[in-house]
């Protein structure tokens, strides 16, 4: 290989003046002014909000850890977690069906996505909640034949089940499209290689395709999770005691509408902030093979190169 050509080989000593190592960045007064203006505006806005008695900060503090609020918070969190897990699992199945060569599977998946993405979540929730008006009894039966078991719809579809089913099915439709996009983003040669090595389709998906698809699935899924937390507030319309419903039940009594909404807002912000941090860790995990000098690079990467020529 070529021995280092000295950078000092350039003509004349004047070159030292132009060595970029000696350069300095000019002071930018414009940036400083902008920083000052923005800081003043933000601090002033904070000051106004903090000193506006209508926000009722003492009331916010008083009710922040109120048992009603906390139990509403648990309901919101629980609903989010369950609906999200069901939504992702079902979404994965729908995505795989949608990509399948089988016309029946892909047709069903398209129909599912078309329906659940195409109607408002609020309407879907109300429908599930009022299932008993459409089908008073739920039964397991042989088509056109005898009934094997039967239940009263109202005992099966409680506000809780209506909320879970409604949120999960809606989420599944969106997740299916996100996951499908992720699977499509993996280079075609990868599936082919797994195939050539005798892997079954299921194994190829699990070991080769999905881990690579995760990098493009995780960021939009984080979005979905945050939307889901806020979407759980919709279940208050079907008398499900979530975070929003419980602060509403308090301000219906005390008429402290804004302070109680501030309690809910701060809780929602706290949860989404925690989730953002979690998401960045997950993204770093799935991006680990991309960092050029990760883990094993402790040994110099170029040593073996020259041997071959």
């Amino acid at each position: 290989m070529s021995t280092n050509t000295s950078p000092r080989a350039a003509p004349s000593g004047a070159a030292d003046f132009r060595d970029v190592a000696t350069a300095h960045a000019p002071f930018r007064y414009g940036r400083l002014a902008l920083w000052l203006i923005v800081t003043i505006v933000v601090v002033d806005f904070g000051w106004i909000v903090a000193n506006n008695e209508n926000f009722g900060w003492p009331v916010v503090a008083q009710y922040f850890f109120d048992p009603t609020v906390l139990s509403g918070l648990y309901v919101s969190l629980g609903l989010t977690v369950i609906a999200m897990i069901l939504g992702v699992a079902l979404g994965l199945i729908i995505a795989i069906m949608r990509m399948s060569d089988d016309r029946l599977a892909s047709g069903f998946a398209s129909l599912f996505i078309w329906f659940f993405r195409g109607t408002p979540l609020l309407v879907q929730l109300i429908f599930w909640y009022n299932m008993s008006t459409l089908f008073p009894n739920l039964s397991i039966a042989i088509p056109f034949g005898p009934t094997l078991a039967s239940w009263d719809t109202n005992s099966v579809i409680t506000p809780m089940t209506a909320a879970i089913v409604g949120l999960a099915l809606n989420e599944a439709a969106y997740m299916a499209e996100i996951i499908r996009g992720g699977l499509l983003s993996v280079e075609r040669g990868q599936a082919e290689t797994a195939q050539a090595f005798g892997m079954t389709k299921a194994r190829a998906l699990r070991r080769i395709i999905i881990p690579q698809a995760m990098r493009s699935i995780v960021p939009p899924t984080g979005n979905q999770l945050i939307s889901m937390i806020k979407a759980t507030s919709l279940v208050s319309v079907i008398a499900m005691a979530d975070l929003l419903y419980s602060v509403q039940s308090i301000y219906n009594r005390t008429f402290e509408i804004v302070p109680m909404l501030m309690v809910a807002v701060i809780w929602y912000l706290l949860i989404t902030s925690v989730l953002n941090i979690g998401q960045s860790y997950i993204e770093a995990y799935y991006g680990r093979s991309d960092r050029r000098n990760a883990t094993a690079a402790a040994k110099p990467a170029v040593v073996t190169e020259e041997a071959s020529h």
């Binding site: 040669g189 990868q190 082919e192 290689t193 195939q195 050539a196 090595f197 005798g198 892997m199 079954t200 389709k201 194994r203 070991r207 080769i208 881990p211 690579q212 799935y286 680990r288 093979s289 991309d290 050029r292 000098n293 990760a294 883990t295 094993a296 690079a297 040994k299 990467a301 040593v303 073996t304 190169e305 041997a307 071959s308 020529h309």
Partner: protein, 264 residues
């Protein structure tokens, strides 16, 4: 034509038998009746201009592409099909997956699994598909890495390696399943010229050790040195085949002559 032809003498039985193989993509006929036998231990190099169908033929051998007429048999099994009640039946995806397990393949674009380290890449199929114990697979993988000269890279991810190193890992990965047959699909075409040599050296080494190989390549030098037989394809048919010194040194067919003249 659909029935399997059983040969009598076991030692005379070729490892790969292709008969009258036809393949078309929609209207475009890519293979127009290929007949080829490959004996165990033989190294066959397939040469030909791009678009001659040589890569497609290679991919038909492990059923990455299905064929429309004729048959291909590897190690006594018809690829992609089985005989049931005296009738030929298409195999399910999992049935085909089983047949592929004795065939190793090396791709033009390496196709290493980018989310796995070099060692994980190599042991994935032995452990996950062939049911080898993790310990044995790792031991075997380390030996293979030594053989391709990359022992110290086992913890690296593919992106941290040069193209030539990636392709050598890909060769080790294919060898790890202890294949009866190795398919090389233009293994050096995606490499910078200065990296081609290390990959070819590894392949020559394998050829010497008696591995059955079918190599699609543009490397005439490799064909001369390592091939037992050179097959020249053009326009979806085999135009000429024979010993490398005959086909490359003294080509008979005008199309072979025209192709080879470009390399002189």
């Amino acid at each position: 034509m659909t029935a399997l032809v059983k040969e009598v003498a076991v030692d005379a039985k070729p490892l790969v038998q292709a008969r009258n193989v036809h393949k078309a993509f929609d209207q475009l006929e890519v293979l127009k009746g290929i007949d080829l036998d490959v004996a165990p231990g033989e190294v066959v190099v397939v040469l030909g201009p791009s678009g001659s169908g040589k890569s497609t033929f290679l991919r038909c051998i492990n059923h990455l592409e299905s064929i429309q007429q004729g048959f291909i048999e590897v190690d006594g099994e018809q690829i992609g099909y089985r005989v049931k009640n005296d009738r030929l039946e298409k195999l399910t995806d999992n049935g085909i997956a089983k047949q592929r397990r004795k065939i190793g393949m090396v791709f033009q674009q390496f196709n290493l699994y980018p989310h796995m380290t070099v060692l994980q890449n190599i042991i994935e199929a032995p452990v996950g598909v062939h049911g080898e114990s993790r310990k044995d697979a790792i031991e075997n993988a380390r030996q293979l890495l030594k053989r391709v000269g990359l022992s110290e890279k086992e913890g690296n991810y593919p992106r941290q390696l040069s193209g030539g190193q990636q392709q050598r890992v890909a060769i080790a990965r294919a060898l790890a399943i202890k294949p009866k047959l190795m398919l090389f699909d233009e293994p050096t075409s995606a490499l910078d010229p200065e990296l081609v040599g290390e990959v070819l050296a590894t392949m020559k080494d394998l050829a010497k050790q008696g591995l059955t190989m079918i190599v699609v390549t543009h490397e005439i030098g490799f064909a001369k040195e390592a091939a037992d037989r050179v097959v020249f394809m053009d326009g979806g048919v085999i135009v000429e085949q024979g010993k490398p010194e005959d086909v490359i040194g003294n080509p008979q067919h005008p199309r072979t002559q025209a192709f080879l003249s470009r390399f002189l």
